[in-house]
Amino acid sequence: MVDFSTMLAGFGDALSFLNLAFILFGVVLGQFVGAVPGIGPIMAMAIAIPFTFGLDPLPAIAFLVGVNKGGLVGGAVPAVLMNTPGTPDAAATAMDGYPLAKQGKPLKATKMALFSSITGDTFSDIVLITVSAPLAVLALKMGPIEVVALMIFAFSILAGLIGNSLAKGIISAAFGLLAASIGQDPENFTPRLIFGYWDLFDGLALPSVAIGMLAISEILHRLSEAHGNLRPAIIAKNTDNPDDSRVTWAEYWSCRVTMLRGAIIGTILGALPGIGSTAAAFMSYAMTKASSKDPGSFGKGNIHGIAASESANSAVVGANLIPLLTLGIPGSVGAALIISAFMIHGMQPGPLLFENQGRLVYGLFGAMIMANFVNLWVGQLGLRLWVKVVSAPESIIFSSALLLCFVGVSMATSGLFGVAIMLIFAIIGYLMTSFGYSLVIFIIAFFLGPRFEKSIAQSLALTNGDMTQVLKSPVAVALLILSVVSLVWFLRTNARVEDE
């Protein structure tokens, strides 16, 4: 394969001043747009790609990697500080991050998010750099039937998030799947539920639904509770205990199992195209909660909840590059954007990439590791700034956030149609939370729905509709048995939490 001197030369390239400058620029930009509700790193990358035309390949790709990684760290900031996740994968982080911030420990909560994000990211980068080729071969063996089984397993784990009412949880999930079925059907391309709006032909735009439901509905709740007095959006500090503004080594170390589990879940799901960081974050969260000695403390500001979510959603990003670099298959929208940047610069990801462009690939790896360090450093500085920003009166913070959501969604969906959809889902989200229906269950079902449907359709086409063919796949059978086991386990854990 690639010889050692090429690897070293590649890593060396990543350390040049120009590349480091572009990584820094990318990370700063990524953290900023990630933290602004409504824009997000994917949008930032899509906008940034044309600007990289004039650059050499390595600084261009290093810059985009910086935006992507910075965006992940930034995405946790509004989720933790304002309970308005800018990206859906940060919604799991908000579940414990926001309660902790409300207790007057916003810096502790955001720092925990930063540290676990970088831990998970570094883990998956190391997996990518060392064992991507064999992992990619394993991922190839996951055909449509195995993917269906894996998604059923994912749904069963998410049962751990349903909370007190099973019926309401199932209704939320079914509603999410219904919303996911809007648009052309994946087999025959017939429009479904579009009511004459061709803009709906490709389905509801993800940013509209996610930001409407998660961010705008929360802002509506908060604004409806405001009574004209200028309360700060968050109290930055209400004790003199310095430990409330930092994460001690003992606290970090106590989360090692949680972060490792999150990183492994994120890496596995990231290596399989199309499942994504949102599902990884929630699966990791649900498993951490269920295996905790004190599951009742989750949702009330447990740092393990933050660590579980952030380590998993960040690990997906590095792992997404496993199928991308080795097979040329993008695992997510972010990875698809990186692939188009590669192609603009004349690199064709796939089996010969390491041979033909070894130095550039190792330059990319070097840039990824450097981006993690830069992310940690910029994050440390940036978090203080964000905590200061959200100490402003909430009427100002939430109205500006509202404006940014409008701008961001209209950019991401290219027009006002996406904004209208966002508002509709904001109202649906407001009503759902008011009546105790879980938004996160809806969002996950909505996100996994299209892939789930497509995989079922593919499986049926391959087997001529013969369900017994599933028995021929040991992986699928094992996953289906695990699904039943985890479903029983999670429902019992939920019952146990209720009893306490």
């Binding site: 063996k141 449509p144 061709w198 097979l327 391959l462």
Partner: protein
């Protein structure tokens, strides 16, 4: 002294600019010109459209804005374009096949037809290939059909309705059975082939690295003519199946746009498609050279394409 030198230089450049054979003298847009791309940001259509706009901007000095209007393979964007005034300010960029398929299948529900637009030109043609793993026990479409008959059925991955219809046509002509799996784009088709879940599948460039590495082979060209990079592989038509698809990337404006504007814009597009920077992007995106059929050629391409699509996709 220095000032006068600068003045001379300025004057000289002004003269050069004025004497350069420029069509921009005749007509220039009053305000920004928008190119609406019928696909999302980051894809091959988007990439080509953005570079085209960049080159046009450099050549003409016009202010050109690029916007993405995804939905229905360009149908959402062309629907919007057909409802605008013909003010010469908005250009639509899309791919012929998805638009033609929708026109044939549900033309009565669409507010436009092929005549709703004035065509400006084309920029490239996508080459569509049927490929298989190198281990597949067949080397061409006839062999694949024979193998499918021998085995009873054969799994094939497609990524869009035209390819499904081509395979159905193959079945109707030859009697061979196929399990048609719809994948989410060419990259997933490659994954299904490499993973052994399907025996063959369609690719519009995604197969390139695997052809180069020897992991895959071309079975047939799905275009009307053979593929530029695999001229030995026969087309479907040559193999006895009367079906083809020729996806062409094209640009158009609302019908009834001022003739001067059409002339100037199509000339600017033509000039841009000849630029080396643009050729490089097209090469990376579709593995072929830019092809501009010009306004007349683009219109003819759509009219002929509609006739072909009616044969292939009629319900």
């Amino acid at each position: 002294m220095k000032l006068s030198k600068n003045l001379v230089a300025l004057a000289a450049s002004a003269v050069m600019a004025l004497t350069a054979p420029s069509f921009a003298e005749d007509w220039a847009p009053d305000g920004p010109l928008t190119i609406e791309i019928g696909f999302g940001a980051g894809g091959s259509t988007d990439t080509m459209g953005r570079v085209l706009a960049e080159v046009m901007k450099e050549n003409t000095g016009w202010n050109i804005v690029v916007e993405n209007k995804p939905g229905g393979g360009g149908v959402a964007m062309f629907t919007g374009l057909s409802q605008r005034p013909a003010d010469g300010k908005t250009i639509g960029m899309g791919v012929s096949i998805p638009v033609l398929v929708q026109l044939v299948q549900r033309g009565d529900q669409l507010p436009f037809n092929v005549d709703s637009f004035d065509y400006l030109g084309t920029i490239a043609k996508a080459e569509l290939a049927l490929v298989a793993s190198k281990d597949a026990p067949f080397d061409d479409l006839e062999g694949m059909i024979a193998y499918a008959k021998e085995k009873g059925t054969l799994p094939v991955a497609t990524m869009a309705p035209p390819q499904v219809l081509m395979m159905k046509q193959t079945k109707a002509t030859t009697g061979a059975e196929f399990n048609l799996v719809t994948a989410d784009g060419g990259a997933e088709v490659m994954k299904l082939i490499l993973g052994g879940q399907v025996m063959a599948g369609f690719g519009s460039g995604e197969q390139f690295p695997y052809l180069e590495s020897g992991d895959m082979k071309v079975i047939a060209s799905a275009n009307q003519s053979r593929l530029s990079y695999a001229p030995e592989a026969k087309t479907f038509i040559e193999s006895g199946v009367n079906a083809y698809v020729d996806p062409v990337f094209f640009l158009a404006m609302k019908a009834g746009t001022d003739a001067e504007a059409l002339k100037a814009i199509s000339a600017a597009i033509d000039e841009a498609t000849k630029a080396p920077a643009f050729a490089e992007i097209v090469q990376n995106a579709v593995k072929g050279a830019p092809i501009n059929m010009g306004p007349e050629g683009a219109k003819q391409m759509m009219v002929d394409g509609l006739a072909n699509a009616k044969i292939l996709f009629a319900k």
